[in-house]
């Protein structure tokens, strides 16, 4: 495959409002997990979450985004989009070129406004300003209008692996000549819909999540957005490059609607497929940003899949212990972290880890380290068995 370069990044999460802010928190081992301050739900004080610090109104002011019907999901996306485009040094002409694709991802769309949605779904009178803002596509349709984008635009929803698939799709559009460059990523905001959904499945932890720990008992929901800029080789002369997207693969676990098979067949296949596309051997991987949600099922099955694929499992950790599980944003946010791993040759420690899972004995990285890294893998697995792995390589 022709080489795809990462030339810009933008990120906002519970641990920072920029890529630099996120990196600083990761180095310090600072987490954004705690009680809710902005979002109103009966679980605000009962469960910890990874909430973005800025209120929706302040985000709108900061971004001068006051169009009616704008949701927090879209505002988070806009924030990360602007940072990524500025970071790549793109001017308006490049953003608006028909060769520039926008591939986004999210799972809740405007359903963060659960109460408005309930009223609009049941009212026979006038609707709210959010009538066209509930679906997943509403985010990219807003970005399209705001920036006058003319290239291919798409939104992907494969649950928790959505934005990893958005990244892969953008790369493929470039390789097939449907675009020369692509803004790819994802967004999601906290919503009663997802909070209650995951709670009904009994997989939200009442404590800060502890990925790959023996006593882990669930995940923490988070929110955020991240975009990265992908360009083909022709952009090289003009711009800095952070990393190469060298591999990606999508596989389905085909086992259960909301849990992964015991042996992690889907995760195994997605990791293996990404290695094959990158023409790498398992031993070439320097670090894995694991999916590592902190649920009993994910961490055990992901560990088993890693043990199957890697003769010696490379250093790995999950940044969900810092940011919470940001669902549709997770794949892109963790792609940013993986690229930071490579660009700064450093790895960020897992939080809250104490004891290995007895069945696997695997120990995640739990202290900040600087070491030579050549290839970093990022895993994202979702409901419906949708598993995707990405491999980034140092330039």
């Amino acid at each position: 495959m022709s080489r795809i370069f990462v030339t810009g990044m933008g990120a906002i999460s519970a641990i920072g409002n920029s890529v630099a802010g996120n990196r600083a928190a990761l180095i310090e081992g600072r987490t954004g997990i705690g009680p809710l301050r902005q979002f109103n739900t009966r679980y605000a004080d009962l469960l910890p979450f990874g909430e973005v610090e800025i209120s929706t109104a302040s985000l709108a002011d900061k971004l001068s985004a006051h169009e009616p019907g704008l949701t927090r999901t879209s505002l988070l996306a806009l924030h990360a989009f602007e940072e990524a485009v500025a970071d790549a040094g793109w001017d308006e002409a490049i953003v608006q070129s028909s060769d520039t694709a926008l591939i986004g991802a999210n799972t809740v769309g405007g359903m963060c406004l659960t109460d408005e949605l309930y009223r609009d779904a049941n009212s026979r009178e006038a609707g709210s300003p959010y009538l066209a803002s509930y679906d997943a596509a509403s985010v990219n349709l807003y970005l399209q209008k705001r920036f006058g984008l003319t290239g291919i635009i798409n939104t992907i929803n494969t649950a928790c692996s959505s934005s990893a698939n958005a990244i892969a799709y953008g790369a493929r559009l470039i390789q097939h000549g449907f675009a020369k460059r692509a803004i790819v990523g994802g967004t999601d905001s906290l919503a009663k819909f997802t909070i209650n959904g995951f709670n009904a499945l009994h997989i939200l932890s009442a404590k800060p999540c502890a990925p790959f720990d023996q006593d882990r008992n669930g995940l923490n929901l988070g929110e955020g957005a991240a975009f990265i800029i992908l360009e083909n080789e022709t952009a090289l002369k003009e711009r800095k490059t952070y990393a190469i997207l060298s591999g990606h693969a999508n596989s389905n676990d085909a086992f259960h609607p909301s849990s992964i098979s015991d042996e992690g067949e889907g995760p195994y296949r997605s990791m293996k497929g990404a290695l094959e596309l990158a023409a790498l051997r398992p031993g070439d991987i320097s670090f894995i940003n694991a999916h590592g949600t902190g649920t009993e099922n994910n961490d055990l099955t992901e560990s088993r899949a890693m043990l199957r694929l890697f003769e010696k499992v490379p250093p790995f950790a999950s940044t969900k212990s810092n940011t919470g599980h940001t669902l549709g944003a997770a794949g892109a946010l963790e792609a940013v972290f993986s690229i930071l791993n490579l660009y700064h040759q450093e790895i960020y420690p897992a939080q809250n880890w104490q004891q290995p899972i007895p069945e696997t004995g695997l120990r995640p990285v739990h202290a900040y380290q600087q070491l030579p890294l050549q290839h970093v893998m990022s895993n994202s697995f979702g409901f419906g068995g949708n598993c995707t792995s990405l491999v980034f390589s140092a330039c």
Binding site: A200, L201, H202, H256, S259
Partner: protein
Amino acid sequence: MNNTDTEQLKQQLKQQIVTFLNLINVKPEDIKDDEPLFGSGLGLDSIDSLELIVLLSREYGINIQDPKEGRKVLVDINTIADYIQKHRTK
């Protein structure tokens, strides 16, 4: 509680399970008291067990917080009926 009450409870429970889980082509009387609900037998799965925990909460005021505890209760109609009789709050 006498045997008639227990029988009535079991009948009611079977009806509730069929309705709540939207079981197609299963009549309440098809479900045997000692037939395993999960795996073989009715063939229910882990999501159904979470559904049944909600059923027990809404219909009988029984709150099972830990799904593992649920698995011990949700074996067959006999075990559930027994648990309801001991723990129901409505």
